[in-house]
Every structure is written in structure tokens, then in C-alpha cells.
Symmetry: C2
Subunit: 421 residues, 2 copies
Amino acid sequence: MRLKEEITNLAKGARQAARHLVNLSSTVKNKVIKEMAEALLAEKKSILDANAKDLRQGRMQRLSSAFIDRLTLTEKRIREMSDSLFEIAKLDDPVGELIKEWKTKSGLCINKVRTPIGVIAIIYESRPNVTSDCIGLCFKAGNSVILRGGSESLNSNLAIFRVLKEVLSKNGVPENAVNMVSVSDRRAVDILLKLNTYIDLVMPRGGEGLIRRVTAVSRIPVIKHYKGICHVYVDEWADLNMAERICFNAKVQRPGVCNAMESMLVHKDVAARFLPGMLKKFLEAGVQIRGCGITLKIGRGAKGIVKATKKDYFTEYLDLILSVRVVDNIEEAIEHINYYGSHHSDTIVTDDEENAAKFLREVDSACVYVNASTRFTDGYQFGLGAEIGISTDKLHARGPMALEELTTYKYQIYGNGQIRV
Amino acid sequence: MRLKEEITNLAKGARQAARHLVNLSSTVKNKVIKEMAEALLAEKKSILDANAKDLRQGRMQRLSSAFIDRLTLTEKRIREMSDSLFEIAKLDDPVGELIKEWKTKSGLCINKVRTPIGVIAIIYESRPNVTSDCIGLCFKAGNSVILRGGSESLNSNLAIFRVLKEVLSKNGVPENAVNMVSVSDRRAVDILLKLNTYIDLVMPRGGEGLIRRVTAVSRIPVIKHYKGICHVYVDEWADLNMAERICFNAKVQRPGVCNAMESMLVHKDVAARFLPGMLKKFLEAGVQIRGCGITLKIGRGAKGIVKATKKDYFTEYLDLILSVRVVDNIEEAIEHINYYGSHHSDTIVTDDEENAAKFLREVDSACVYVNASTRFTDGYQFGLGAEIGISTDKLHARGPMALEELTTYKYQIYGNGQIRV
């Protein structure tokens, strides 16, 4: 009961603060964000001390080295967090943008205007840099934010949070614009996710398990991506050299991220020419292949090629593993992608305009590419200047999400006494 | 188990059909919708017969006269349904619209393109005309639709549904683009609302009870409005004659709809001048007043004015009842609206530009008006040509929803071999 009251009060406070944020000018918001960036640098010692505490506990808990790596802050990483806030300060303010305007038959002037969403909750795993990124982006878009990070990074998160929150109060901005749920009790999240009166949007950031838990419990709208099962389809009309470069890049350049390729589809008419060289290159780079029957035949029992099961096509490896399937035609490729994929990012390599257009139209994914690596699905690569996540949902936001996706709109309507007849 | 399989298969079929709908041209879609409009007229006898069956059963169940009225089809109402389909055929097709395009540093051309959402489920109460409206709008926006109407109108709904579905198959469009859940078992809806693999969006249309039930159960994103508690605030700088016209219209012209005024707020400095005449006019029109202390004093114990409780300010009367409160200033008015309101439609009557701007910015509602009746919140009145609902949510769609709100977007990205470095 005590916990419920505490979390509810925190969310109420965030809602109250959001009412004030709609009145902040871009100038004030940018000044605050720049001061946040400076404060991170000025306070780096206290942040590193807090992080050292988390790291000590993490090693005692025998967390994996990948986990420890994500958890670790260094002077360089703090500088990057600070730089990222300076970048956010430079971005255009989406709030107040006039999206559309028109006059109705009755003489009303309707303005469709971009506004903050209100209160956004972000539930994330143990990456302390997410703390400052989310505070900067949500604040710039005029939203209150409620953060709940992984318990393993609690000291680091709290240290960053306190530094940034102090900048708010120094500038006369309501402190409740940024909030952190720091109680260790896991029920806190369940309570938070029921508070749809005070919270408008939840964004879970982390592994599929976390995201599924949040989605199952939440009464608040959730924007998310469960996983990234991205495909490259090498069409019968592909430039095979280009296809090799794109496929290699999409798989190998950074296999642990959501926009890396997990499945390669090859048209049957080019399989015999394309696959031998491609498979060799993958095997040399240490990529394990899970292939269909034809792929196995072409691979001639090379070490590192095993038979793919149906489950493979549903799997996000996030590792140097790749499923490979030879398809009869573009229709089969599209059907495969829509059925096994995760609606994230998919590429066709082709020189045929009609096939390109068909792929772009029929593949039901957030980002569909012709002749480029899937690895470009990213807010910075897109030129959005920032990224708060990638959505494979279809409502509100799809694909890379930046400032604009942290806003909604309202209709502001000007009359001169109109009544309905 | 049998029921679950049946509903799941229906949803799978809808998803399959949606894959085809993305390839339909506007010309084909419009031809189909016009033929649907004609078919309704040609088949009016069978539709009226089915409706007569529903009406007979409804009277035996002693449904209220308002209920029977909504359930009743006449030749005129069928003509209106048909006209509405002809109108939908004339509207611009939102699918394929190029929302934005730009080139990235890496040379990728990114097109943000409007696309159908996919599969939309609509759960509604016993208004048979909703059946044809929803089929027309969803089909025009390239979506498959799954309808579940109130059981009292099942025969009417099925008759309309069959007529429209036949037009699809005649035109070679997959029949599964339109679907109706006609089993009477109420668990069918619960099953449907869990099928987030096949269904992208749920729109409940009906009373608050229905909408809350759907929202509580659904694993699929829901767009909705629970209720419309709309306000008119008469500012200290209001033209009081205009204020009287607007308030009267917002309350009396059609009290049973969601955009009617439920609560009137009056600045204390104009209350003594404004309220006596206004209250008299309301009382003469049969409006019951639930007033604050000052309102009661000004009303001098007139019959029809009683004391308002806090609960009144939270109530959507949908009737000739109005709560009235005198406020100290515009801040108190805005706070009242954000606290008690439903974020639907709210008006300020004022000649002061600054107060108007403050109201438009700070009132957190889908539609905020200056000097006009709240009754204009409506897709047709807005000039959108149609309406499939009104959203008081903030994600995806806010305010009146028409064709555009039944779409999403994808990024189509053109490269010439780009890889990530």
C-alpha cells in the first residue's frame, strides 16, 4: 500500500510538471539541456564513483563480461553522454510545429499543432547512458519522464539523474519533470504500468523478455520492438558483387544489434553463382551457417554449415550465425519475410525496378531497402539527430524514433461565434 | 477450443487478405465501394427483412425506445448508408502518399510513405449503419476489417455484411478483407482481443462500459474515447452575447452526443452579468442546472437549479443537465478542465488574444476552441469527409478520425550499394 502510494504520487507529480512544460520556450529548454551536458562533465567524479560501486557489486554477482561492459562508465563514455545532450540541444524543437491548417465551410480556422505527449515512462536494462539520453530527449519534446533502470546500474543511474535534476531546479523548471523509480521492489513496475491516468506512454528498452513482460502487464500504450529479424533477399536480377558486400556488412559489421541480418534469402537462379563465394566469405569470418537443402548442397559439407530448422528462421541470433534459404521467386521471399520476420528492416538487392517496387510495397516492415545494408536503420543514420528507440509497431511511430515521435498533436480551432445548426 | 480455432482462422484470413490489399489501385477500390453503395440499394428488401427480425426480438426483450430507434433501419437510413459509401469513394486515397523524402549523408534516399495499417477490428453496439461505414472506410484505406456488432442487431449486420462481401468476390478481391464474428458466444471477443499477431488495431465504438471492457482485456493497441466531458469557459473578456449563443448551442442542440457541453465555467467578474440571463434561457429549454455556491446565489433558488457535487463535474450527462461553476480566473478554469474533463473538446469565449493562446496551449484536449461551439468536433464538420470515431488518446490519432488515421507509414529506402562503416 505504501509502495503504491509512493509510485502514484511520483506519477501525479510528473503529470503536474508536464502541465508546465508546455509553456517552456525552445530557448529555455535548450539552455537547460546544455547546462545538463556541462553538469555531467563537471560531476564526472561522483558519477564514476557511483559506477564503481555498481561494478563491484556486479562482479560479485558474477555478471557476464558483456553485461559488465554495458554497465561500465569511463571518462570517455561520460563525455559521449554529454556530447549527445549538446546535440539534442541543437536539434529543432518539434513542439508548436503547425502540421496543417485549413478553413472549414462554417468558417472555422483549424490548426493541427504538434504538442508534447505528456508523461512518458521508460523501463530499461542496465545501460547508464540511457538515463541521460532519455532525460534529454523527453525534456526537449516537452514531456515529463519517469525512468526505471536495471537494478544492477542503480547507483550510476541515480548519480546521473541527480546531476541532471539539479539543473532543472536551478533554472526554475519543476523538478518533477524528471523522475526515477529507485526502490528495488519489483512490484514497483507493475504498479507504474497501471497508472494510465497519469502516464501516456511506456517505452521498454532491452531484451525481448523485458519487453514482453511490460506489454503483458501494461494498461498504458506501449511502443516497442520485440526483436530484429532482418533479411536480405538477393534477387535474380541482383548485382552479385553488390549483394555480397551488402550481405557481408549486414551480418558481420556488428552482429549483436537489432538491425543486423539474421536470414539471407537467395533466388534459385543465382544461387549456384552467388552462394559458393558468399558462404566461403562468411565461413572465413567465423559465421556459422544454418542452410536449407540447396544451401547445404552448394556448401558441399563445409564445416560450419548445418541444416536449418523452421525455428532458425524465427530466431534473432544477435551473433555470428546466419540462416540461409534459397527461394523460387520474389513472391516466396516476400512471404517468408512477412511470416518469419519481425517487421523491422529488410533489403532486396536487385537491378529490376518492378521487383524493387513490389518488395517495397509488399514487405510489411518499418524499413524496406533496395540495394543497401539493413544496418542503416538507426535515428542517427537516418539523419534524425537522435534515437530513443526503434518501433516495429504500426501505431503512432514506426521505425527509428526521435524527437518528433515523442510528440502528439492537438487541433486548435479559431471561430468568431460559430454554432452548429 | 473450437471457438478459439474458428476466431483465430478468421483473423489469419484477414491478415492474408491484407497482404493483397496493398496492391489494389485507388481506381479498383473506388469501383468496389461504389458497387457496394449500389448493392445496398438493390438489396434493401432483404436488409429490411433481416432488420424486422431484430426489431421483433428487441421488442420482445423490451429494449428501450432509444435502443430500438438506433436499431431501426428504414428505406431512408439505407439510402443514407449508401450515400455515405458513395462519399467514401470520392475521398482522396491516403495510401501511397509521400509524407516526406530526404537524402542522407550516406546517399540513401529515404521516402516516408503512407501505408495501410493491416487488420483492424471494430467492436460496436447495435447500430447497423456502423457495419457499412466501417467496411467502406477500412477498405478504402487498404485494411482488412473484422466486425463484431451488438447481438441485438446481428441479423441486420449479417444482411448488410453479406451484400457488401459479395461485391468483393465479384471484383476478384479476397473475401477475407471483410469479416464478421457472428457467433453469439461472448468469449469470442476475449479471444479476438488476444490475437495481436494477426490484428493491428482495435476500435471499440459504444458506451463507456464497452470501451473499458475492451481496453482491459486487449493485447492489441486500442484507440478510443471513453466519454466526452466538454467545457465552455466564459472568460472575463468574453463577448457575453456570443457566449450565450455558444453555450446554449453546445448544451441544447443535441445533448446526447459526446461533443455536447456538460460543464460551463464562468469568470467571477462576469458571472453577475452573464449568469441570470443564461440560466433563465437554459431553464426555459428544460435544462437542469447543477451549480456551485455562487451559481445558486445568482439563481436565487429558481426551480431546476440544485447544488453541484464534485461527482457532477466528472459526469457525462448526455442529457439536458449541466454543471455550472464560477471560477476566479483562467488558471482555475484550465485546471478544472484538465482535472475533471475527458480531453475531448473545450472552448474559451474571449476577446483577449493572450487568454485565448494560453487556453489553447494549456488545455490538454484533442480539440480546443476559441469562440465556437464544442459541437463542431466531428469528421464531417472538420471537412475530413468521413468519421470512424473520435480519439481522446494521444498516440497515433487524436480527435476526429477519418481515412488518414486508418493508415500508418513505412520507410522505403533507395540505395546503390551502401554499407555501414
